[in-house]
């Protein structure tokens, strides 16, 4: 029996059109868009403020509306619950809440509406305030030592109302060795955090993983030892919802990598263009931060550099604490002096792979130097960067699973325009295979992070 007739695609189209057509689309969230754009621009170009980049970064905020069709009473901490209720002992103290709103009102750009959460958690007083930012809602965190008066609360991160409100609060005088990750989400969830990404000698990624506790219904907390490069947070809700993203806050940064420190590490021997100026230390530090890796591990190297008119492509080998390697392909724009005297430097991660411990000059990677453009975009660029063992003389590139092309290499490295490349084998002088690697999918989000590969 054929259970469904042949017009299934038509039924799919009607079903989808019905649902998407009935969707009540909110106005363009210009405030949120501009905030994201500003943050990314800062991350890419703002070395004047790069010391805070590791805790600012990009945000994967989830908009409201996830629970709109649920019939049951919303669990504490969920967005629907927070529409009508507040969480925490202090949020239900009218005098303190009023004072907190007055405090939030001192920040001229937001109009405070209501305290969503406020309480003392392990020596820290935290408050989450719903505000208006133009025509949009914005939830802002404030913090202080436990027992702080509202007027002394310090503003932390602001974000659009999210399914998961979270913040990273710095160490307190009572506990200077730990930071606190706080989240407000639907009660009954499981909170997990990852810090200190690492790669073992076998090339496998590992991290410090810890589970938070629900300190009161809908409120989650966890302590993590400082310093750490980045915190990734995950909440699995009873409803099946699964949220994952970084936690941000204004915590003190670990020591930053200076140019002198980095260049001393990078060592000579990089392959590629003759003028092999390595990326500045701060840009490399930002790369470590984005990958959630400690930057104080010796052994990092610049394996290859290619200077272009618009960007410099670099391949970095960063040694992880447990001895494995993280190969990071980056492209970066030339440094420029900003009006305030700071140096601006843009850098993007194009690809990240991990490799087992060993001689970095024997590692192999292939990546798209500039990702192929979508239809309607700029001219597609399909240049493939290939860096393998230093004694490799050619690369055999498999294309679309059907044919192979051979590319000459210099010192085991090369660039070629090879659309649809899938696999690269590095060959020695007598044709023997020295190493091989797959080519990542273009435009794959996972290419640029370690956390997504854990």
């Amino acid at each position: 029996m054929n259970p469904l007739p042949a017009d299934l695609p038509a039924a799919v189209k009607k079903a989808v059109s019905t649902h998407t057509g009935a969707l009540d689309v909110p106005p363009v969230p210009w405030g949120e868009l501009e905030r994201r754009h500003r943050r990314t621009t800062l991350r890419r170009y703002g070395l004047g403020v790069i010391s805070v980049l590791s805790v600012v970064g990009a945000v994967a905020a989830f908009g409201p509306g996830h629970d709109m069709l649920t019939k049951t009473a919303p669990p504490a901490g969920s967005p629907r619950y927070l529409q009508d209720h507040s969480l925490g002992r202090l949020a239900n103290d009218p005098a303190w809440s009023a004072a907190m709103l007055r405090r939030a009102g001192r920040d001229a750009y937001v109009a405070p509406q209501r305290v969503l959460f406020a309480d003392d958690i392990d020596g820290t007083r935290a408050a989450l305030v719903r505000t208006r930012f133009g025509n949009e809602s914005m939830d802002c965190w404030y913090s202080g030592p436990a027992g702080s008066v509202a007027s002394a609360m310090k503003e932390e991160e602001c974000d659009s109302p999210a399914r998961v409100n979270r913040v990273l609060l710095g160490p307190t005088t009572a506990d200077p060795r730990h930071a606190t990750v706080l989240a407000v989400a639907a009660s009954g969830a499981r909170m997990t955090v990852w810090t200190n990404n690492d790669v073992g000698a076998d090339g496998r990624i590992k991290s410090d993983v810890a589970t938070g506790r629900e300190v009161s219904p809908g409120v989650y907390a966890i302590h993590i030892a400082v310093p750490f490069p980045q915190v990734d947070l995950r909440l699995n809700e009873l409803s099946g919802g699964d949220w994952r993203g970084p936690a941000y806050g204004t915590i003190p940064n670990p020591p930053r990598l200076t140019d002198a420190q980095w260049w001393a590490r990078a060592a000579p021997g990089a392959r590629g263009d003759a003028n092999r100026t390595p990326p500045p230390g701060l840009a490399v530090q930002a790369t470590y931060d984005r990958l959630g890796l400690r930057s104080d591990i010796p052994g990092a190297r610049v394996l290859w550099v290619r200077r272009g008119s618009a960007a410099t492509h670099s391949l970095l080998a960063l040694r992880a604490p447990s001895g494995g390697w993280v190969l990071v392909a980056t492209d970066s724009t030339p440094p420029v002096k900003a009006a305030d005297g700071s140096t601006a430097y843009g850098s993007d991660i194009e690809s990240v792979v991990t490799r087992p411990a060993g001689n970095p000059d024997q590692l192999a990677i292939a990546w798209w130097l500039t990702r192929p453009s979508p239809p309607g975009g700029p001219q597609p660029t399909t240049e493939l960067g290939m860096v393998g063992p230093r004694n490799a003389v050619t690369a055999r590139v498999t294309v679309a699973g059907t044919r192979a092309v051979t590319i000459p290499l210099q010192q085991g490295a090369g660039v070629a325009d090879v659309p649809d490349a899938e696999h690269v084998i590095f060959l020695g002088r007598s044709g023997q295979a020295l190493a091989s690697t797959t080519v990542p999918e273009p435009w794959s989000w996972e290419n640029g992070t370690l956390s997504h590969q854990i």
Binding site: V16, L23, E441
Partner: protein, 174 residues
């Protein structure tokens, strides 16, 4: 080559359509708005490179590729409220029930398979266009579309609701 359209004007004009497009791909309103914002932010940075006649395709491509490469797309099963407004659902009750069931089953398809089904059968893109948009081969589109429809055909909830479909028109595209 014509210059890029004003980014703000483009977003103001196309935001609802882009959110609906992303909603079809994600089956989750919150995720849809989030991924459109991500896509627009990325495109904003590169806007000066966008051709005026290619802006929408550029943004939609970015949305689709973000959707299929997201870390993990939440699959939310929506529970319609009793008596909820179904103004957009014309037709007999059985068809409404079928559409709701189809929507839920589509939401359960893996992200890449769901994207292929949506682009092929909802957006009416050709296999080549779908492949170009998702950055994969035509063969992959063929296989994902075929497997997606096959999965829908074998879902128990849809099998039990098969009758209303027998009155519909149209045929499967190859």
């Amino acid at each position: 080559m014509t210059g890029p359209p004003d980014f703000r004007a483009f977003v103001d004009a196309r935001w609802p359509a882009l959110v609906r497009f992303a909603y079809a791909l994600t089956a989750d309103r919150g995720d849809a708005e989030d991924v459109v914002q991500q896509a627009l932010e990325r495109c904003w940075r590169r806007w000066r490179h966008v051709r005026v006649d290619g802006a929408e395709a550029y943004v939609r491509t970015t949305i689709a590729r973000l959707v299929i490469s997201r870390w993990r797309v939440r699959h939310v099963v929506e529970t319609p409220l009793e008596g909820a407004d179904r103004a957009g659902s014309a037709g007999p009750e059985e068809t409404v029930v079928l559409h709701d069931a189809l929507w839920r089953e589509l939401a359960d398809l893996p992200p890449r398979m769901r994207a292929v089904v949506m682009l092929r059968f909802v957006e009416d893109l050709s296999e080549a266009q779908t492949a170009a948009l998702l950055g994969c081969s035509v063969g992959s589109v063929k296989s994902q579309a075929s497997r997606g429809l096959a999965r829908l055909r074998t879902r128990p909830e849809l099998m039990s609701l098969a009758d209303p479909l027998s009155h519909g028109g149209g045929g499967e595209q190859s």
